[in-house]
């Protein structure tokens, strides 16, 4: 038999779900990202033509989501590196809160600058 949500309902497991989810989504986004920047091979005008898409509210919303994914994966990843490479100490329990805080601040800063 397998565990259900009751066994998984604790902070470090939520952190895992965020880390895995963001990792997979960012991996899927990368080829698209590289393709978009590759438009510059055909000159600034072509790249600008593509970038006009980013004026749409839905695309802006998706961009904020991507920044949140990236900052969450970064902050969660730093947390994992600390847990894996440093000897465990009590203060490391606060890492999770710090990681969540840092990623939200980054996404918020991006959002406030974007709109």
């Amino acid at each position: 038999m397998k565990n259900d949500f009751r066994a998984r309902n604790h902070p470090a497991y939520w952190a895992f779900i965020v880390h895995r989810g963001s990792g997979v989504l960012l991996t899927l986004f990368l080829p698209l990202h590289f393709w978009a920047l590759g438009q510059a091979l055909q000159g600034a005008a072509v790249l600008d033509g593509f970038l006009r898409w980013t004026e749409y509210p839905l695309v802006k919303f998706a961009e904020i989501g991507l920044v949140l994914l990236l900052s969450a994966h970064l902050a969660g990843g730093v947390r994992l590196l600390v847990l894996e490479f440093l000897e465990w100490r009590e203060w490391q329990k606060t890492l999770l809160a710090a990681a969540a805080g840092v990623s939200l601040v980054a996404a918020l800063a991006f959002m406030l600058n974007l709109v």
């Binding site: 038999m1 565990n3 066994a7 998984r8 604790h10 470090a12």
Partner: protein
């Protein structure tokens, strides 16, 4: 106090929950509840226990979805209202009702080289291990494992990767890696290396969250990850 509404898993891998009503008592443990059902309601109920005081590690079950030792889990702490759901441990084949087949769990201790190998005999003097040394402190942090299987049951990596050695076996390996008397460090590090060993751990920390002895297999597994990588890079293994 109202009676407890208890649902207990019946059958093997295929089966279902059967409901029982059990009188509630003060300081009642989950094991008390299971024992009441077996003695008063249905003598065919199969479950395991021995010491009843948190030493032997044989009475672990899944209580309201969470792996726990039942002899030292008070009903008042885990009952949702007056409801208890009691199932066998996860990640292990169910033999009958609340009894699981623990063979793979203990076989993995052997695969992780959980056996101490020294270089001296009883004829020689005791080894002197400095209590304040880094190694001895690491051993202390992991040595109180009672082999109950709660961490193994709580670990999703075990579910997703059937070859994964699991938290208990790796915790055991970590205590031996830090045992300065042991002579098989390289073999042990090789045994716990890679995708079926310590490097499969995703730091869910479920094992640490659920360990009834308050140990942190996650910390030990992290130590193994570093030690194995260092040994691999240096050519020791």
């Amino acid at each position: 106090m109202d009676n407890l509404q208890v649902s207990i898993w019946r059958g093997a891998e295929a089966g279902g929950f059967q409901d029982f009503e059990v009188p509630r008592q003060e300081s009642q443990t989950v094991l008390d509840v299971v024992t009441y059902v077996q003695r008063k309601c249905d003598p065919t109920l199969a479950y395991r226990f021995a010491c009843r005081v948190g030493v032997c590690g044989s009475c672990a079950m899944t209580v309201n979805g969470v792996s726990r030792w039942t002899c030292r889990t008070h009903v008042s702490k885990v009952a949702a209202g007056n409801k208890l759901e009691i199932a066998p441990l996860r990640n292990l084949p169910v033999v009958k009702d609340l009894v699981t087949d623990m063979r793979e769990f203990f076989d993995k201790w052997a695969r992780a080289r959980g056996v101490f190998t020294g270089s001296t005999t009883r004829k020689e003097k005791f080894a002197r291990v400095e209590p304040q040394s880094k190694e001895r402190k690491r051993v202390d942090a992991g040595i109180e494992c009672i082999g109950c299987g709660v961490c193994y049951s709580a670990c999703d990596v075990v579910t997703w990767n059937r070859d994964y050695l699991g938290p208990a076996a790796l915790n055991r390996a970590w205590t031996l890696v830090n045992d300065v008397r042991d002579t098989t460090r390289a073999e042990r590090l090789a045994a716990v290396a890679g995708d079926a060993g310590c490097h499969a751990c995703h730091t869910h920390i479920s094992c640490t969250e659920r360990c009834p002895k308050g140990l942190s297999p996650t910390a030990g597994i992290a130590g193994l990850k570093r030690a194995v990588l260092a040994a691999t890079l240096s050519g020791e293994i």
